[in-house]
Symmetry: C2
Subunit: 167 residues, 2 copies
DNA sequence: TTCCCTGCAAAAGTTTTGCACTACT
DNA sequence: AGTAGTGCAAAACTTTTGCAGGGAA
């Protein structure tokens, strides 16, 4: 019933080495969408986008900046923010505000999912549950409202943290 | 099945006139909890807390500051934030981050509820649905996780806005 | 050649903090 | 009297913007 999709620590770093095929494909999509809008592809944008998609999910601008600087120390903070906004406008990323003050960005995937956030280790688990979606639609119907999107976050202790005694 | 609780515009202002009994009762509770912690009651805190509970829900620090200044122009921004934090620590308010960057605070109520936010007029509707709660517990169980809290926000067009053609 | 893009630094917006003074208890 | 609270201003932090120079198309 509930489909588990990923299980990734928020600070996970895996950008060393080659960029995967999936990343190059998404980069191509990004180039296409830029061209559609009469915008340009640049080295900085490519670097940022590659790192963003390679790194995994739920990254903050600060983390992305630090990672991008490792491979291109010339890139400025403003370009990080501008590129993240561009990715969001191209529907290739989405901005999330979890509990903290700063925003996190996540690569836009195929299908919708929600998040479980472990309050102990910070791990973020994505899941999908049809029953939840159905009931939300029912709630909207009862309110006479039209639903365009939603946000659901579950907080608690993940199975790993429940097993280990401390931290 | 779904219980509707309130329907309040986010910028609603109803602080003129007397403070209600419910407010005075909550103020008393606040005093008690302060005393428990060895903290003091002050005129500024009382003013802020009264306005907060009278005003209704989902207020930002900025709005609260403006409202409090109307009845006590001496109060500073810092005291607003410090008192909101105090209310939160006393479990009498909770901090929410909706779509925007700034936080909104809401009076802590008896029972749990979630929010529908109209993207057209900004209205916030609170609702409660048992089925949703049940499925969330089921999801957590499947993950082997322990659920401590959750956040669910539905976004869309409310019934009023669907009826009226523009805005 | 034309604009878009970039980096830097400064600005903007929200929230926190240091400090001298005030006022609860 | 003693200690926590307050206002102010400055700091901290995240995100945005202005501008002069650089680069993609």
């Amino acid at each position: 019933m509930t489909r588990l999709e990923h299980s990734v620590g928020p600070g996970r770093t895996s950008a060393e080495g080659r960029t995967g095929n999936a990343t190059e494909q998404r980069l191509q999509t990004f180039h296409d969408r830029l061209k559609q809008r009469g915008l340009k592809s640049t080295g900085q944008r490519d670097d940022i986008v590659r790192v963003f998609f390679e790194l995994g999910r739920h990254i903050s601008a600060e983390e992305l900046y630090a990672e991008v600087r490792k491979i291109n120390p010339h890139v400025g903070y403003a370009t990080i923010y501008r590129t993240l906004r561009l990715l969001t406008e191209c529907d290739m990323a989405s901005e999330r505000h979890f509990a903290e003050d700063q925003a996190r960005y996540e690569a836009a995937g195929k299908h919708h999912h929600d998040h479980f956030i472990c309050e102990s280790c910070g791990k973020i688990i994505e899941f999908e549950n049809e029953g939840l979606e159905r009931i939300q639609q029912a709630v909207a119907r009862e309110l006479g409202a039209e639903l365009t999107r939603h946000r659901l976050e579950l907080y608690g202790r993940c199975s790993d943290c429940r097993r280990s005694p401390r931290q």
